[in-house]
């Protein structure tokens, strides 16, 4: 029995689900927004916001035993502590499977708003070359859209969320509609000037970030307190809570239902539509059924794939909307990790004021628009960096005691350190995949997902090249000491997982059409990272947002025409 019907149901309230809820309600639809996690109310539930260090357990040192028991994956995010642990997934309660020899870190949010509260907020547009990469070099399938299809939607979402950044006029990193850029450290200006002079193909720019540098659409400019991941009651960074949820609520057409685990979708072969959403109330265990004219699946790449795989039927024996057989395959994530760090003895009389929630960016310069003759890999990578003036925690591991030791630790260290992390493009391999493990049901009786992924030859060769290029950069920048490292973090650690329900014009090799609508079922849309056909090397959230807004526009127009 259907408990309630809506015009649209959006599954997941993270970055894309929030956008779908906003767009669909603003276009006049009554929307039910479901999230499996408990509610997180803007401001009120940011329990650790602005907590001083001396009020945190162990002054913020990792609570290792608790983390090892309950947050053994979430802890790899590097930004979780007692102040925001309630925003992360409990890995003991919500397990998934992987071969221990091929670790995959599925880092998840644990509340309404999902990872929109926890992301690093970097916003970069895919370029035309990114959309053409698969068809140009033959790895992966062809994107059904190009940059020009998405450009107006990039404009649209940037205008709403507020992205600060510097226009650079680069082909490989299209400029957006930017709020004023954040400032660089003095040392970064020195480094930028030196490397751009000595290595002209390199551009160093301030990170483009969804953090407000001026008041924007009723949200306050950043106050530079530092740890955004604890939540921001002034709404100075983009999250579901700060931005899309208030917009959706303002329409009076939104119903948010937290603690609602979507078990499966039901397909009606007569109408050829998704007819019922089966939900389990995470608190009471009660089973509920909802229906709607259209369904937007925005649960995150792996979770959306899990729901579709668990929604098989006589019509779709291998998972809902999976007539192509590619559902769950072609999982991608960026290679990530520190590529190098360097010490500088410049700008020593220069310090800083405020905590910048952002770093600098060196856009792709290898295989840029054409294959470099000395590159043993295809595609590219970008560098994200940050600078630090050492403080007591960097200086403590020296010998000595007493006044001299205390004085040395109290003042800033006499050097600057600059670190850069590499973000490498990952090719789509069908062996990198998500499946269901029916032998291992979770606490709701839903089969756990099993993730099988590893970085392969091209990703690792690009990684090796990053270390070589980082050395060139550090030398050109005038570092007095540096070290490099070409290892990558395991897959998943980039938290840019994508690709398991990819778009495409050909229904035989893709799940979604160019409007993020499933080829098989007209009223089912998937707009999270699972739709991606290739990964580029830039952070993907902005692209997910643009695709979601675009898909909502299309879905509502089709609905109004009576075509759905």
């Amino acid at each position: 029995m259907i408990d309630k019907s809506y015009d649209a149901i959006v599954i997941g309230s993270g970055i894309t689900g929030g956008w779908a809820a906003k767009e669909l309600t603003e276009k006049g639809l009554n929307v039910l927004l479901l999230d499996r996690s408990p509610d997180v109310k803007h401001g009120i539930d940011y329990k650790g916001e602005h907590v001083p260090s001396w009020k945190l357990p162990f002054y913020g040192k990792d609570e290792r035993q608790l983390n090892q028991r309950d947050y053994f994956i979430s802890q790899h995010s590097g930004v979780m502590d007692a102040s925001n642990r309630h925003l992360f997934n409990n890995d003991r309660k919500n397990p998934y499977q992987y071969d221990p020899k091929k670790p995959f870190q599925w880092i998840r949010g644990g509340g309404v708003g999902g990872r929109s509260l926890l992301w690093y907020r970097q916003c970069y547009r895919f370029s035309e070359a990114d959309f053409k990469a698969n068809s140009d070099d033959g790895h992966g399938s062809r994107w059904p859209i190009g940059y020009s299809d998405l450009a107006p939607w990039y404009d649209y979402v940037e205008d709403f969320i507020g992205v600060s950044g510097q226009a650079e006029g680069l082909e490989q990193l299209p400029d957006g509609k930017f709020l004023p850029p954040m400032k660089m450290y003095g040392i970064e200006k020195t480094v930028k000037q030196r490397i751009e002079k000595k290595i002209p193909e390199i551009t160093m720019t301030i990170g483009r970030t969804a953090v407000l540098t001026e008041n924007h659409r009723g949200r306050a400019a950043c106050h530079y307190c530092g740890p955004c991941e604890r939540g921001c009651s002034t709404g100075s960074y983009f999250s579901t809570q700060s931005s899309t949820l208030p917009a959706a609520r303002a329409t009076n057409r939104l119903t948010l239902r937290p603690d609602s685990v979507v078990e499966r979708l039901e397909y009606d072969p007569e109408t050829r539509r998704v007819s019922i959403i089966h939900v389990i109330d995470a608190k009471s265990g009660e089973r509920l059924e909802f229906s709607s004219k259209i369904v937007f699946l925005c649960a995150s790449t792996i979770a959306s794939t899990q729901i579709l795989l668990n929604s098989s039927s006589e019509h779709f024996p291998n998972g809902m909307a999976n007539s192509s057989g590619v559902l769950g395959k072609y999982l991608m994530d960026h290679t990530t990790g520190i590529i190098g760090s360097a010490v500088f003895l410049d700008n020593l009389d220069s310090y800083y004021y405020g905590n910048r929630p952002n770093g600098f960016y060196i856009p792709r310069f290898r295989n840029n628009q054409k294959q470099d003759s000395d590159a043993e890999f295809i595609r590219g990578y970008g560098f994200q960096g940050n600078s630090l003036r050492p403080h007591w925690a960097d200086l403590a591991n020296q010998k000595g005691f007493g006044k001299t030791y205390k004085d040395a630790l109290t003042k800033p260290g006499n050097y600057w350190a600059v670190g850069i992390a590499g973000f490498g493009e990952c090719l789509p391999h069908q062996e990198n995949r998500v499946t269901l493990d029916a032998t291992k049901p979770d606490r709701f009786g839903i089969p756990q997902v099993r993730v099988d992924m590893e970085f392969r030859d091209n990703e690792l060769k690009a990684r090796a090249d990053m270390a070589v290029q980082a050395e060139k950069i550090f030398r050109a920048a005038g570092a007095v000491f540096y070290q490099t490292n070409s290892e990558t973090n395991p897959p998943g650690a980039g938290v840019h997982e994508m690709g398991t329900a990819r778009m495409g014009d050909n229904p035989e090799e893709s799940v979604l059409n160019k409007w993020n609508q499933t080829h098989d079922i007209a009223n089912l849309f998937v707009t999270d990272g699972s739709c991606m056909v290739s990964s580029s090397c830039v952070n993907p959230s902005l692209t997910y947002m643009a695709l979601t807004a675009r898909a909502c526009d299309y879905a509502v127009s089709q609905l109004k025409k009576g075509l759905i």
């Binding site: 001083p52 260090s53 290792r64 005691f401």
Partner: protein, 213 residues
């Protein structure tokens, strides 16, 4: 101090948090942290009186009161007791207990010095011992260039490094250390990446030990 005395001295610590009586409260985590109590207001009773006094003496040597407050003013000794009781693994606790026991044995064997708790002679003796320990463990990974005191904890760190790390964190992350010794500005309002730095200016306080710059 014979072996039996040594074991007695260290046994309370080795028993760890299971026997520590008061475990640190997680109740306040249900509310807004910023309105909660300071962490070091939590009780801890894993140390004996003599151990507690010894830790007081040690943190006072590592970060003394100068023209600014020192580790004792920040109750870094109590932070260490809380950490030993509820943060350390059994192995780490064993290392800490043994290290403390060795120092107590040296004090006990000083015999005629009959050292008073706050005496100058004791400070001289303990400073010498700390220097000896640092020399003995000068090759510990903890001292390696590039290592820093972060959110984690080096399980292989010898006692001397454990002691220094916890004193430093217990001092600079405390309210006293952050606001009276470092510069504390929780709401800067702007970011400027190139302000002039005077030679006597302290660093900014940090939100977490692992925070960069």
């Amino acid at each position: 101090m014979n072996r039996r005395q040594f074991l007695e001295f260290t046994s309370l610590i080795l028993a760890g948090s299971s026997l520590a009586g008061n475990t640190y409260s997680t109740e306040h985590q249900q509310q807004l942290f910023a309105l909660g109590k300071n962490f070091i207001e939590q009780p801890a009773n894993i140390f004996s009186d003599s151990q507690r006094q010894l830790v007081r003496n040690l943190v006072d040597i590592i970060i003394p009161r100068t023209d600014t407050p020192g580790a004792l003013d920040a109750k870094a000794d109590h932070f260490i007791e809380l950490t030993v009781a509820h943060y350390m693994t059994a192995e780490e606790r064993k290392t800490f207990a043994a290290g403390l026991g060795e120092l107590q044995a040296v004090i006990d064997s000083a015999g005629d010095l009959a050292i008073e708790a706050e005496s100058k002679a004791l400070t001289v003796l303990l400073t010498e011992q700390l220097n000896n320990l640092e020399e003995r463990h000068s090759d510990a990974a903890w001292y390696q260039l590039g290592n820093r005191v972060g959110n984690g904890f080096d399980s292989t760190a010898p006692f001397i490094c454990q002691l220094k790390e916890l004193t430093v964190v217990g001092f600079f992350m405390s309210e006293v250390g952050a606001t009276q010794v470092l510069r504390h500005n929780p709401m800067p309002g702007i970011f400027d990446g190139e302000t002039p730095l005077a030679t006597d200016q302290p660093s900014w306080s940090r939100n977490r030990p692992g925070d960069l710059s």
